[in-house]
Amino acid sequence: MAQFLAQYSIQRWMEMCPQGYLEDTVYGHEPSEHEPEQLLEDDDEREAAIRTTVGLVVGERCALAASSGLINAAPDYPSKRFLATQTLDEARHVEVFTQRLFDLGVKPDDLESTIDRYANPNLVKFAEVLLEKVSNGDFIAGVVGQNIVLEGLAFSVFEMLEAGSREFNPKFAHTLSGTIADERRHVGFGENRIGSLIQQHPEKKAEIERMQQEMTYYMLAVFADSFRGPQNTPKSAPEPTARAEWHGTNLSTASPEEMEEVLATTVLGEFKTRLARVGLEYQTPRVPA
């Protein structure tokens, strides 16, 4: 364990992030990059971007609360130190996505009301399930919920958004690239650290699987809210681009239903694989209405 945890030291983090892929960036992107004029001038597009970004801020606020809350529950110094780097990563994500809201025209005084207005209630419930485990000091359930379920979800959503933004919005795509690199590290820690703890505490399995099932239910409900209904149908046909290919789907031409399908399939596939690696069995939730 000690050898693998050495890969998650602050020293390693310093070399990889501030002195690595974040060097010379401002709020996660190149200083010269801006939101596209086309997006800022179209009220519907801008509102959709604000709605999406609010979802990212809500998710990252949850991740910040969870990772900092788990530090005091961690059973060893190396895990505490890793979670400290994760706390800082999550705070950075909160900051860069909040900054994007400002770049999209949200005034600082209106930030909280904008988040309240656009936050998806099912995403809030998803976060509450995790934060209850964290506030109870349940390290194993907390790390599974945070570093496998929440981070696994974030990882796929960010990847999809990044693929869909490369051509049209390089600034947002670059912001997402840095967060994807962070999330990959977080998911890796969750898988590596938690497997041995699950082996030591098999009695925790059923409770953790129930948590995963509940979180997955709310996640699928968020997807349904995000992709279904007339408000989610694009008003004009986008320009097809080969660079927007993600898991066999061209995101520049896919319908909302196709996007929901590819995202849900990808995230659930990742969950099953990662949970199996730590000795847990994926639990299918009931289908949200």
Partner: protein
């Protein structure tokens, strides 16, 4: 933004807080003094051969620094949850990473000095007053009291650490001196946040001073114990106790908590 070319104090108050409590500001700050310093030391610094007595004293000192930094790490993590606004939350998250880095560099230095199991050694050598202080700090934060937590963590603990580290750095071996230099720069930022945050909230609601004075009275005996222990550990002359206490008392006075 390059910190050297930029004076945040020229900004209006809210813009100043947005700036100095951001990840971006932290990132630019630490880049200046932590780049190319693996585990806090310059690669060109040559380690000095320490005699047994000095090495032994240094191990005890570093063990107690690790207790302090663990308290600070757990305290800052708890304060992220309690922070009343986005800027404070993000600042506290940067402090969490700083404290974890301090713990890491001290543990690394202990290993360089030949301590095979630092965690066990820390338990063996921890000063009781410091352990008591850690418990009291985490209790205050556990009660969900942001103002009391910031006072105990960012004013008392950080001022103690800042003062002791500076005193120690003056006579430390070259590698420990390198390590302490980066830590001191961080502690200055943390103490500045604490004094600024409390100063602003006490200006709006001076009644908070009564409670903070009570907390100070409860913690003072532990603080004195920690200072005395630290002085003995770093082998400082007895007359440096007034210098140590001076920094702490000045901060307390600036906040109107005497």
């Amino acid at each position: 933004m390059i910190v050297d070319d930029f004076d945040p104090h020229a900004l209006a108050e809210q813009d100043f807080l947005d700036e100095v409590h951001s990840f971006q500001f932290w990132f630019d700050s630490v880049e200046g003094y932590l780049s190319d310093r693996p585990y806090g030391r310059l690669e060109t610094t040559v380690d000095e051969q320490l005699d047994d007595a000095r090495r032994e004293r240094l191990i005890t000192t570093l063990c107690n620094y690790s207790v302090g930094e663990t308290a600070a790490l757990e305290g800052a993590a708890g304060l992220v949850q309690l922070a009343p606004d986005r800027n404070s939350k993000i600042f506290m998250a940067t402090q969490v990473a700083d404290e974890a880095r301090h713990l890491e560099v001290f543990l690394h230095r202990l290993r360089e000095l030949g301590v095979a199991d630092p965690e066990r050694e820390i338990e063996r050598r921890a000063q009781p007053a410091l352990v008591d202080f850690k418990g009291a700090l985490l209790d205050l934060i556990g009660e969900g009291d942001w103002q009391a937590g910031v006072f105990a963590q960012n004013v008392i603990l950080e001022t103690m650490e800042y003062t002791v580290f500076r005193l120690h750095a003056a006579t430390a071996d070259p590698v420990t001196k390198d390590v302490l230099a980066g830590v001191i720069s961080d502690e200055r930022r943390h103490a500045g946040f604490g004094e600024n945050d409390l100063g602003r909230s006490l200006a709006v609601d001076p009644s908070g001073r009564i409670r903070l004075r009570e907390i100070r009275n409860q913690l003072d005996a532990m603080v004195v114990g920690v200072f005395e222990g630290a002085l003995a550990d770093v082998g400082a002359p007895a007359d440096s106790s007034s210098e140590l206490a001076g920094e702490y008392l000045d901060t307390i006075e600036r906040l109107g908590l005497t």
